[in-house]
Amino acid sequence: MISQFFVLSQRGDNIVFRDYRGEVQKGSTEIFFRKVKFWKEEGQDEAQAPPVFNVDGVNYFHVKVAGLLFVATTRVNISPSLVLELLQRIARVIKDYLGVLSEDSLRKNFVLVYELLDEVIDFGYVQSTSTEVLKSYIFNEPIAVDAARLPPLGPAAIFMQGSKRMPGTAVTKSVIANEPAGRKREEIFVDIIEKISVTFSSSGYILTSEIDGTIQMKSYLTGNPEIRVALNEELNIGRGSGSLYDYRSSTGSGAVILDDCNFHESVRLDSFDVDRTLSLVPPDGEFPVMNYRMTQEFKPPFRVNALIEEAGNLRAEVTIKIRAEFPSNITANTIVVQMPLPKYTTRATFELDRGAAGQTADFKEANKKLEWSLKKAIISHMLLWSLIVGGSEHTLRAKLTFLQETHGNITKESGPVSMTFIIPMHNASGLQVKYLQIAKKSSTYNPYRWVRYVTQANSYVARL
């Protein structure tokens, strides 16, 4: 059972605080914040506090969401998964109700948040975290905050960045707020979000690769009609008895082979084995319909090659090449390539491709890192130009100057190269939502359906 729940800002300010059982002393928020801020680990100066720790018999659980710390305390030996899941869920419910999750929105809507907290947990026991169920207990109206000024939150937020196809405000709309126009807009969002992890060896060979995907749904449909989501027909789950990393088995065919997946409790799998459709009555609010994991071979969106060579006394040269291996009608954005350089590097000069507008390369003196970013550049007033289109190749050359002579192997002093990126409207696994069928109420009922794909880097690393 939960003893206390609170939300702290990054500075440690108490935004929301609810004591359910009165078992934990008053100063717990300060104890917690000090502990997290000055966490010490053996041999480390700055270590990150683990999500769960114990101070004087009180267990503190925390998750970070949207720059806020959601914290629960208890004295009993409870399931950590349960509490961490719950904290994540509370954050999501609050977001569903407020539209936007931020310090500002929480402060403006604290009465509503307390209303929610009273119904989510009673005397430390979870009652409900379903946005849908909670609706009947919530009477306060959310006070909207200006979403445009907020930093983007979560992967779905990238759809707000200027792409004309997407209604930007929809994802930040409260499930209970009334539209200014009066009637609610009928719409449903299905996002297929994939996080990719790839490790390239120094020779460019793929050592490990994995896709962790989730199909996320957010429904604003009134009356909760039943929905059918059809996935690829050639979809296999479980990779048989062979090794999970046996790539040969899958190449050639168009089949998508998932290692494993799990489903939201509302999903019914009656016909899943037959025609790969999921049927569900989507509850209000945002929730993951399905999580999946794939280690089948796939084409990584980027090839990365990195090289560091000594170039005479006290000098070395770095060459990083990235090649976009996705179709040319797709563009990636917010690409950042980082590479730790030898500790004794004092200076780095860069040489970029010609016409590389919007690219910047930088030597971060403090942590001896090279940072190359290929962001979207604004060429003229209205035109947004993404630099990395499919098929293109980009190279960065850097000349390094050292403080002292290198000894030993310079490749052991630097690297590995890591890369982050976001590619909207692309997915690497090949998993697709073929159609989204909404049980019709009448012939005129035709809600908006948005099916969106996005691929992100999780751990995208090239070794030297």
Partner: protein, 841 residues
């Protein structure tokens, strides 16, 4: 209730400072109180919001209590809710004012709107004012019978709240019986779940007081209840599912058909997106199949994929919680995960605590077929710029080397680390090479060649320097420069700040001296002279000991300091298998994340339901001996039934260092402690035990330290204890619960005592020599916990002792309970004198 009153120490200028605004609000509220004008509710809402926001930022608005209550006569539910929030916050500190609210809350409990009934009932039960409980019984009784499930849901938790305010009122009203009836009959699953939570808490708390309650608690685990819950499990939402699964995991089925039925029923829970549900299900599967080796193994295979999916989906925090559980399973049955090793590779953006778990998993799953790849991967991390992870990775490589039979390639890798010329890499590697040589002396040629090239000036970390010095002493015949390096170290004695290193230096110089006397003589002289003048007690003592030993007889000295050694077969595990099993039993709890059983981090009253066993019962009873060095055969035997007992893929942990210089630079302490056991091998850490008393005494004489010649008490103690006292654990537990603490004290423990406390058994045997018997012991470094008892010789009067020894700060916490309180001080003195002699023999 809600917002903390203490936050915001310095209100910003824009915030009201209090008084004026509050009295303003007061008059405004008063105006609205009686008004029936249209739109009045909206104005009230604004005012209420202001009140609540003042309350949140810590302004005392309790003076508005009367007005707030007056204004609450409304049908507007938003207003009511804010009013309840307000009342809940101030009732506890203003019990008199709380009485004012009883009336309207009771009235609201009879409202037509079930929402209002529920909310009012919840607020009524949340007042937490003891003298108002009489007002709760009526509304709770009708709430439990309410036609609306929301009200019943609230009422059930209300009963639990009442129990916490006044357990007797709750029991007298016979509420638990009503809850039990509701649990088995209510159509609403949330009502049912709340009944289950409430009953678990109430019966567990009552169980110590009444037989009946304890029977009722056990009845929750009976077949009809469990089956009833299991049959409805799909109607439950995810959270109550966890609750039910947790209960089912404690159920003992009568036969294997029942086990399979339950598992088939729950099979699809493994595909749930909520990690808590999946882990709770896994716990059921693991517990049910504990006695069925084959099925248990199938369970491991079955749960692998869902666990891995959970690790990679969800937030980093959630995946850490799941990964900790995966880690536990991997540690128990590494063989079953040996083909999944790639899943344990670290990703660059993972946090330190995640990477550390993964490295440990990689270490244990390494076997003949995957070692090459794993070590290659680890070597990448070792070259990483992330220093803590680089260190951990090198340690991992070393551990793999120590557990493999074919270490050829790994030794090469380790030696390559030394060529990287990074200080921390060199430091970690030296420590490993030392351990490796203790296990595989045959590699000495290769290693020594490389180690010999390392300049001691480049090694600063004490552990690494100590390792290097050990190698210099141990292999001085093969290392050309050894005497000279040692000599220069000895000459710069004052520059060496770590006593650990100085101790090693003394021993190394001695060893070198026996092998190459002429060359080392100078170094030895310098070292002994410096050592004798050392301000550190241990260093001084060791120097003196060596000096006298050499004076006595050089060949005896050699037999003591440098006896022939056997290679170490297995390094001792850092955690006993009992503790590991205990953690496994507490699967899906914090114990797994902390890697400690719950008794080490929770107070007794917070152990939760069904924690039948008192901590005593779970500690090891008696004093069976766990030697620090486990014979190889025994390990192999354990490997075979790896699933059912803890897998003894023994953690290759050198039993050194707990941060203290004393604790165990093993070879040295064994050499000095068991001086007379001439053939002591390197790792026999048999601490000084009473039975070794006579040979040890010779040393006492030799050192002339004037210790008393017999370990037994010289002055007759004022209190005679029965040396053959008997007390069974049950009686002990009962007495421990009944008696109050008569004395509690912190006692220092001598460094020698700490050094001898490598295993709890040493102390247990020692105390037995003083007629103080151990009934249970446990704990792990640095905290050991013991329960002792003693009886007076002439009468049946018991002393019970809880003794917690922390070896990192050399302190012990003593709590004494006694049948005869008057003699407890005398007993404490005796206990203290016995304890202070520990390790000094």
């Amino acid at each position: 209730m809600a917002p903390p009153a203490q936050s915001h120490r310095s209100p910003s200028p824009s915030q009201p400072s209090g008084k004026g605004e509050v009295s303003d609000l007061k008059s405004q509220l008063r105006q609205l109180a009686g008004s029936r004008a249209p739109g009045v509710d909206d104005s009230k809402r604004e005012l209420f919001k202001k009140v609540i926001s003042y309350m949140t930022i810590g302004i005392d608005v309790s003076s508005l209590f009367g007005e707030m209550v007056m204004c609450s006569a409304t049908s507007d539910i938003v207003l009511k809710k804010m009013c309840y929030l307000y009342v809940g916050n101030y009732a506890k500190v203003n019990p008199d004012l709380a009485l004012l609210t009883i009336n309207f809350l009771q009235r609201d409990c009879k409202d037509q709107d079930p929402m209002i009934r529920g909310l009012a009932l919840r607020s009524l039960c949340s007042l937490r004012v003891a003298n108002l409980v009489e007002y709760l019984v009526g509304p709770l009784g009708s709430g439990l019978k309410d036609s609306n499930s929301y009200v019943r849901m609230v009422a059930v938790i209300g009963v639990l709240k009442l129990y916490h305010i006044s357990s007797s009122t709750c029991m007298d009203a016979d509420f638990p019986a009503i809850l039990k009836h509701l649990m088995l009959n209510d159509p609403d699953t949330q009502v049912l779940a709340n009944c289950l939570s409430a009953l678990q808490e109430i019966w567990t708390a009552e169980a110590s007081k009444s037989e009946e309650a304890s029977r009722e608690r056990d009845a929750l685990l009976s077949k009809p209840v469990i089956y009833y819950l299991l049959n409805r499990i799909k109607e439950f939402s995810e959270w109550p599912q966890c609750l039910v699964l947790e209960l089912v995991a404690k159920y003992v089925p009568s036969d294997s058909n029942e086990i399979f039925d339950i598992m088939n029923l729950l099979e699809d829970r493994l595909q749930h997106a909520n990690g808590a549900v999946v882990l709770a299900t896994i716990k059921v599967f693991l517990q049910l199949t504990l006695s069925m080796t084959d099925v248990h193994q199938q369970v491991y295979e079955r749960i692998k994929a869902p666990l891995l999916t959970l690790v990679s989906s969800g937030s980093p925090e959630q995946s850490y919680a799941v990964l900790s559980h995966l880690h536990l399973l991997v540690m128990r049955a590494p063989v079953l995960f040996s083909s999944d090793y790639k899943h344990f590779y670290c990703q660059y953006n993972e946090s330190f605590y995640v990477k550390k778990l993964k490295l440990e998993m990689l270490t244990v799953v390494a076997n003949e077929s995957n070692t090459y790849e794993i070590v290659t991967e680890l070597c990448e991390y070792a070259a990483n710029v992330d220093i803590p992870i680089a260190r951990e990775s090198i340690r991992a490589v070393g551990k793999i080397a120590l557990q493999q039979y074919d270490v050829n390639a790994i030794v090469d890798r380790l030696l390559q680390f030394l060529e990287m010329e990074k200080d921390y890499v060199t430091a970690e590697t030296l420590v490993l090479v030392k351990d490796l040589l203790r296990k595989y002396p045959q590699w000495s040629q290769d290693c020594i060649a490389v180690v010999g090239n390392i300049s001691s000036k480049n090694v600063q970390e004490p552990k690494a320097k100590a390792a290097l010095i050990w190698m210099l002493g141990e292999y001085s015949q093969d290392m050309q420069d050894a005497p000279y390096i040692l000599e220069s170290l000895a000459e710069n004695w004052d520059d060496e700040h770590s006593p650990e290193v100085r101790l090693h230096l003394l021993t190394a110089v001695m060893k070198c001296f026996f092998k190459r006397p002429p060359e080392t003589q100078k170094a030895l002289g310098a070292a002994l002279a410096a050592g004798l003048g050392d301000f550190h007690q241990d260093v001084h003592d060791r120097a003196l000991f060596y000096y006298r030993l050499l004076q006595f007889n050089v060949s005896t000295a050699e037999r003591v300091v440098n006896p022939p050694k056997q290679a170490v077969s297995v390094f001792a595990d850092s955690q006993s298998s009992e503790i590991k099993d205990r953690i496994f039993d507490e699967f899906n709890s914090l114990s797994v994340v902390y890697q400690k059983p719950s008794y080490m981090f929770t107070d007794k009253e917070h152990r939760g339901p069904f924690e039948f066993s008192d901590e005593l019962g779970n500690l090891s009873i008696g004093a069976e001996s766990i030697d620090n060095c486990v014979p190889v055969q025994q390990v192999e035997a354990n490997d075979k039934d790896l699933l059912l007992s803890t897998s003894e893929k023994e953690d290759v942990r050198v039993p050194t260092n707990n941060g203290s210089a004393y604790s165990a630079p093993s070879y040295d302490s064994s050499a000095s402690l068991s001086a007379s056991q001439t053939s002591t091998d390197l790792v026999t850490l048999e601490p000084a035990l009473p039975r070794q008393a006579s040979p040890s005494l010779a040393i006492d004489d030799l050192l002339g330290l004037g210790l008393s010649t017999t370990p037994m008490p010289a002055p007759p103690p004022p209190l005679s204890l029965n040396s053959k006292a008997i007390l069974d654990p049950g009686t002990f537990q009962q007495k421990w619960r009944q008696l109050s603490i008569s004395l509690s004290q912190e006692l220092p423990v001598s460094p020698q005592g700490i050094a001898a406390l490598t295993a709890p058994q040493a102390l247990i045997r020692h105390m037995q020599g003083h007629s103080i018997h151990c009934i249970a012991s446990g704990g792990q470094s640095p905290n050991f916990k013991f329960f002792f008892f003693a009886q007076k010789l002439e009468e049946l009067s018991n002393f019970l002792v809880e003794c917690i020894i922390n070896i990192s700060n050399s302190k012990s916490q003593i709590k004494i309970k006694a049948d005869d309180q008057t003699s407890s001080q005398a007993f404490l003195d005796q206990f203290q004198s016995a304890l202070s002699k520990f390790g000094t023999l």
